[in-house]
Amino acid sequence: MALKDIYEAVLAFNKDAAADGVRYELEAGNEIDKILNEGLIGAMDEVGKRYSSGEFFVPEMLQAAQAMKAGLEVLKPHLSSEHTTSKGVIVIGTVKGDLHDIGKNLVAMMMEGAGFKVVDLGADIDTEKFVKAAVEHSASVVALSALLTTTMPAMEATIVAVKEAGIAAKTIIGGAPVTRAYADKIGADGYSDDAPGAVELARKMMTT
């Protein structure tokens, strides 16, 4: 009964109810796996479906993710290394010389909502910082954003640096002036013209 309460709490964007639900289940001695997968992750999968169908708007999806996080915080101390809560690590940032970050923030928030661990470096990030973070966090994906045509060359420089560092991370790029043709030209592993597409890309990259 209460597992469903956690699920519903997430779908109702209710942080307190989600946390309380998890607490109740833990005290009742319920299986950690079930709380995690059926209560929390299962709820986020449904949130994802409702967002894709247009039923949930972006702020609602983000609030649902917050509620799920609140429940997860209560569960965390009880999780063992077998329990994977993260689908992979995304290092993301806006490239050097560019302060624009709305799109990047949206991608970061959606990646987190989709179950990735996101290391958001912020804006105006130089190549070395991207590489350092990718190494430090064992990134699965390095995601680069730019809004200015004048800062797009920094994307190529970062991709080259990531490759030269010899790390396994894939690179994906996006931003208003960026195109698929440009991504192919500079050797990015992927390109998306919107945030949901970026999440899909990252998901696909985890399975290959």
Binding site: G54, F57, L99, M110, T149, P177, T179, A195
Partner: protein, 469 residues
């Protein structure tokens, strides 16, 4: 009540101003520039890191220093423009790196497009100045693209131009190129756009541009805008305070450097598309901000700038017409003084289209006619003629009618006025194809404006040397 959007209550404007002062005083605005921070410090402003805090007296001095009107000279003196209340000047798109073809395909913009748009601006009946970066060419090195753009703009058009604000160097290059034509002058010979970053900050290149142009006494459009619900509150009131405070801060810097620097006050606001988190800017909310910027401009006694004929559409359809017209009509009826993007943009300013440009020119022409004051001269009343004709009413035959038949009404170039049977036989009938025909005609009509050969050589030499450097 349905005119409320055009008649803001004084107390609400006072509150926007009061809260802006509060924000400027308590939260401050970020200026990521050592040089700018030094200037603020020198004038006694409180700084914390890169955040500058403003006292009410600083803002009051700023407002008092800004001229309420100014002119911008054109290479052809007859085309110089006046930026002042009761005047509305228009420029085409500014900055998109893409072109949308009639097929709907999106492609990168190039210098060939810059040149083509120069021809259109030069032959335009309705555009008053050249935004210079009508498109951002992507095939040339980006660090020197502004040189290629400005050279084309100065040689191919003789209307007033915009300077570049992509970097300090680009701003200085803009002034140097202008110097070749006008010599060393502090009279306004270009106007440049500075956009802040919401919330509450400026990017370094924009701060640099403020400083370079203000020092040279060259006008600036200082513009701030929030993405409602994303970089500012979802509610207009809150986002207004952010944008107003940020714009005032940028204008303040300009006035500290050079009191009396001509300014056009810019403020916008766009709803975030809550379904995708994306940026949209052709909405009724954007149109509300067009009305708001005029109210704020009048409040501060500064000329004001709005967006132009924007649309989310990517083709010449009802949506493109509707959205573009709502924005331009609101601008006209509010009393906006400057609009950028008045011709040619699609898809939230991401792309330009030649066909949309041609279509928007009819819109600009119609708008200019709309705001042209009704003439109340004796000749316009034509009482003698009315009494003489009485009930016979045959005005088509009168000399009075004939004298004015080409100038009294707006005559569209693209929009149709025909009977149905003729419409059925039109070839082509599709508006996009008809726009393409007009485009061809305009490009063929284009004549390069006269320029002193020595001036031209020096302009070309400057660009060549700077690119080679």
């Amino acid at each position: 009540m349905n005119k409320a959007i055009l008649n803001f209550k004084q107390k609400n404007l006072d509150t926007i101003h009061k809260y802006s002062l509060q924000l400027l005083h308590d939260t401050g605005i970020k200026f990521p520039s050592e040089k700018a921070l030094e200037i603020f410090k020198k004038h006694g402003f409180h700084i914390d890191g890169e955040i500058v805090f403003f006292e009410e007296k600083d803002i009051q001095k700023t407002i008092e220093a800004v001229p309420s009107a100014f002119s911008v000279k054109a290479r052809n003196p007859e085309k110089s423009i006046r930026i002042e209340e009761d005047n509305y000047v228009m420029a085409p798109g500014y900055g998109p790196p893409f072109i949308i073809e009639p097929s709907g395909e999106k492609r990168d913009a190039t210098m060939a497009d810059v040149n083509k748009f120069c021809k259109l601006v030069q032959t335009s009946k309705y555009l008053d100045f050249n935004s210079s970066i009508v498109v951002q060419p992507t095939e040339v090195p980006q660090e020197t693209a502004h040189l290629d753009i400005l050279l084309a703009t100065l040689l191919m058009t003789d209307k007033p131009i915009m300077g570049s604000s992509v970097s300090e160097m680009a701003a200085r290059d803009s002034l140097k190129l202008a110097e070749v034509i006008w010599g060393n002058t502090d009279e306004p010979i270009m106007i440049s756009l500075v956009d802040s970053l919401s919330p509450l900050q400026y990017a370094a290149e924009m701060v640099d541009s403020i400083m370079v142009y203000a020092e040279a006494g060259q006008p600036l459009i200082v513009h701030s805008s929030c993405s409602l619900g994303s970089t500012g509150p979802i509610t207009i009131a809150g986002s207004l305070v952010i944008s107003n405070a940020t714009t005032l801060a940028g204008i303040c810097l300009a006035q500290l450097i050079n009191p009396g620097t001509p300014i056009v006050y810019g403020l916008g606001g766009s709803p975030t598309d809550m379904k995708t988190g994306g940026y949209i800017n052709a909405s009724p909310e954007d149109a509300k901000h067009v009305a708001i910027v005029t109210a704020m401009g009048r409040y501060y006694n500064m000329p004001c700038r709005s967006q132009g004929a924007l649309t989310e559409s990517f083709s010449l359809d009802y949506q493109a017409g509707m959205e573009s017209a709502i924005l331009m009509t609101t601008a006209a009826l509010s009393g906006v003084n400057v609009s950028l993007h008045a011709c040619g943009t699609y898809g939230s300013m991401l792309a330009m289209s030649y066909e949309k440009f041609i279509a928007d020119e009819d819109l600009c022409g119609a708008i200019k006619k709309l705001i042209q004051p009704v003439e109340f001269t004796e000749d316009a009343f034509s009482m003698d003629m009315i009494k003489e004709l009485g009930t016979s009413g045959n005005y088509l035959m009168q000399t009075h009618t004939m004298k004015r038949c080409r100038s009294e009404f707006f005559i569209p170039d693209l929009n149709i006025r025909t009977i149905h049977s003729k419409w059925l036989k039109m070839e082509p009938r599709d508006i996009t194809l008809r726009a393409a025909e007009i485009l061809e005609k305009r490009l063929n009509e284009y004549k390069k404006p006269e320029i002193d050969q020595d001036v031209e050589k020096r302009l070309v030499k400057y660009v060549k040397e700077r690119k080679g450097a």
